[in-house]
């Protein structure tokens, strides 16, 4: 059932892409069909990312792209699926920090070490926000409150980059704050809006409608640089606390990807990120293009994983 569905969509997409193909010459590729695997359910974050991407990739790589949802086990099953696939460029996995966290916390049979990072495409913007009618105007106000009494800070998930960010900020500022974890950004946003929490830490995408409606105030971003669309929002580092994060979004494949495959992706991903239509779409989603080529991506992931592991060991989540 699911196979035929994805087949139909792939067919529809190739039909739609036929018109684009006139403008650019797609790069030759050893595979006819490329399966992009995600652990998220249809409509979830990585699923939308892959489906959007697959609409534009065909312009640059001469292949058909199919998205496959392998849910369950917080990504462990999707990682296992890709790790066991042939390393010929036919199967890739959509990476996010989740797969590092699951690898470290749950110790599944296949971990991030069994995959070969291909390229990175984006960084999601992580922000600190508070309710617009609340007492906090700057990050300093929040830190001052946590100094004088006790802060209440929210993080969207227990094993997440957001929680790590909150713990690191708490340490960098040397304050007393309860870090309240939730199950998803929506839950947490309610608790920020009703005043249960001083601040929430989350992805800017989840806040877009509340920002537009003027219900939420952005205090700072954990990005290394300011967000181009929100130039008034300072970075946490600028505010005086040495914490910055990159919530990456890219692709990884089975170990031992051949050079002709990785070269095509290096060129094509760079080009697709420049594609005016795609650029318009992802800028709307407040995704920041953050291209890391194949030569550097494995080192980036290893570094990220090591930092995370050290943090998890310090907090006692992993022994």
């Amino acid at each position: 059932m699911r196979k035929t569905l994805t087949g139909l969509i792939a067919a529809a997409m190739t039909a739609a892409l036929g018109t684009f193909a006139l403008h650019a010459e797609p790069l030759a590729y050893p595979q006819k069909v490329v399966t992009l695997v995600t652990h998220s359910s249809p409509g979830g974050g990585s699923d939308v990312f892959l489906r959007e991407l697959s609409k534009y990739l065909g312009k640059y790589i001469a292949a058909t792209f199919v998205v496959e949802n392998v849910q369950g086990g917080s990504g462990a099953k999707a990682v296992a699926r890709v790790a066991a696939a042939p390393a010929d460029g036919s199967v890739f996995y959509a990476t996010t920090p989740t797969y590092i966290y699951t690898s470290l916390l749950s110790k599944p049979s296949a971990t991030y070490k069994d995959l070969e990072p291909l390229v990175n495409m984006f960084a999601d913007s992580e922000v600190i926000y508070t309710r617009a009618d609340g007492p906090y105007k700057t990050l300093k106000d929040v830190i001052d409150k946590a100094k004088s009494e006790r802060g209440r800070w929210g993080a969207s998930n227990p094993a997440s980059l957001e929680r790590q960010a909150a713990e690191q900020l708490k340490r960098a500022a040397g304050v007393n704050a309860a870090i309240v974890t939730h199950e998803g950004g929506g839950d947490m946003m309610l608790n920020v809006l009703n005043g249960t929490l001083d601040i929430g830490i989350g992805e800017i995408q989840e806040l877009r409608s509340q920002i537009e409606a003027g219900k939420v105030r952005l205090l700072a971003t954990f990005n290394p640089q300011r967000i181009p669309e929100k130039p008034d929002v300072p970075t946490v580092k600028e505010s005086g606390y040495d914490v910055s994060l990159v919530k990456f979004r890219g692709l990884a494949g089975p170990k031992g990807l051949p050079d002709d495959v990785t070269k095509v992706w290096d060129t094509a991903v760079k080009a697709v990120l420049e594609d005016p239509e795609y650029k318009k779409r992802y800028t709307e989603e407040v995704l920041v293009a953050n291209f890391i080529p194949h030569a550097e991506y494995p080192a980036f992931i290893t570094n990220f994983a090591d930092t995370t592991e050290a943090f998890l060991k310090e907090t006692g989540a992993v022994k």
Partner: protein, 501 residues
Amino acid sequence: MALVTTFWDIVHLLTGTPLFLVAILGLTWGILGGALPGISASITMALVLPFTYTMDPAMAIALLACVYIGAEYGGSIPAILIRTPGTNSSAATVIDGYEMNRQGRAGEALGISLMSGVIGSLFGLLMLAMLTEPLSWLALAFKPTSYFALGILGLSVIASMGGDSLLKGLAAAVIGLMIATVGTDPISGVTRFTFGVPDLLSGIEPVVVMVGLFALTELMSQSGSTSVTQLGNSIRIRLPGWEMMRTLRRSQIIGCILGLFEGLTPGGGGSVAAFMSYNEARRWSKTPEKFGKGSEEGIAAPETANNTVASTALIPLLSFGIPSSNSTAVLLGGLLMHGLLPGPRLFEQNPQVIDSLYVGSLIAIIAQIGVGVIILPACVWMVNRPRPYRSGFIFALILSGLYTLNNSTFDLGLALALGLVGYFMRLARFPVLPMILGVVLGHMVESSYRRSLVLSGGDFHIFVEDPIAVGLLGAALLFVTFSLAREYREARRTKLQEAHQ
């Protein structure tokens, strides 16, 4: 209010073929999907999601909403006919629905479920259209402490669900709560009771437990019994008459109110409202003794409630972008996929989406009576097939439905094991409903309790400081006292009667 702007817009939307077709197709698919055991409303919606990529956003959202409406009704069909809830929220319908079926009143039960569903849906839609903006504050008013109290109130229902022994009911509930602790710890992220099995990382889904304990247990004990209960072939769906509708009015009102309440607050997506309204309907009924023995009200209340939730759950979704159930999470995915951001601005920027959502739902609800009547005889026919064929077919259906949930064979083994557990529980006369309630509510109770204590730094006063929590906990206490007192009185009465004889 950002409702349908003019009369002519309504007329245009009603007669425009695409929306009409979309509504009917969505509804039919929803009923079929909901009627397949193991395929919940959210899965039914997720299965059509890929088809909406190329559709006009307004049509896509209307389609998904209509599927949701259909699935909530469809779930009650197998609940009544084969003792298997088609969706999580129809689990409460099993109790009296299947009992009526055994008494040869399946057609009547289905008719009551259909009409109660229509009433619930209409009420829900009305609330959705009228209250989306004014009521969105309620979602905000609920803090972690309030969620904890809501969960406790739900668990207090167990006190009157124990069947012949309160102790056995409590034991079953505790097993259910234990099952709810498997998976990733909601606060610290540490894995618990997963035994290194990756399939257990995200916990045991309530639907797996329900399918195991209800459907597989039933199949097992059916194959053990030799008596053949053949339904008369003359069974036709019998819509309740005026007289019957009058009797059901009270339970339907209860269903509407609890459905509205649960739809507004993130929770179990209709299952909590269904169970609670079943319990309330019994409490307020003139004939409480009929409950569990084929009471019409016992079908009307939960079916009204879960259909109300199908519409009212859209209130927090549209006003805050907060999905209160799995099904609305799929709908959220559909909105985002089309570049629509839920929130106050949606009503201003994309009024056509809201209009077609409301009008499409209205078409689906009205068409439900017709489509429901057409589809039902086919279902009754299915139930009348010789039992070996039927059981084999249902077995295959249940397992394939479960498989599509996570594409996981592990879930199948788990459900089979739970089916065995349920079979032995039945032999030992342990009620399974408290166990299911424990699984459904355990997660919410635990995570909101611990979240509250993290917030307060371990100070229990936080529960007393939240007026909503105080109210809900007080109500829970009253319920428990009330049911215990009644049980005590009844026990004494039977004792006295025995002494007289």
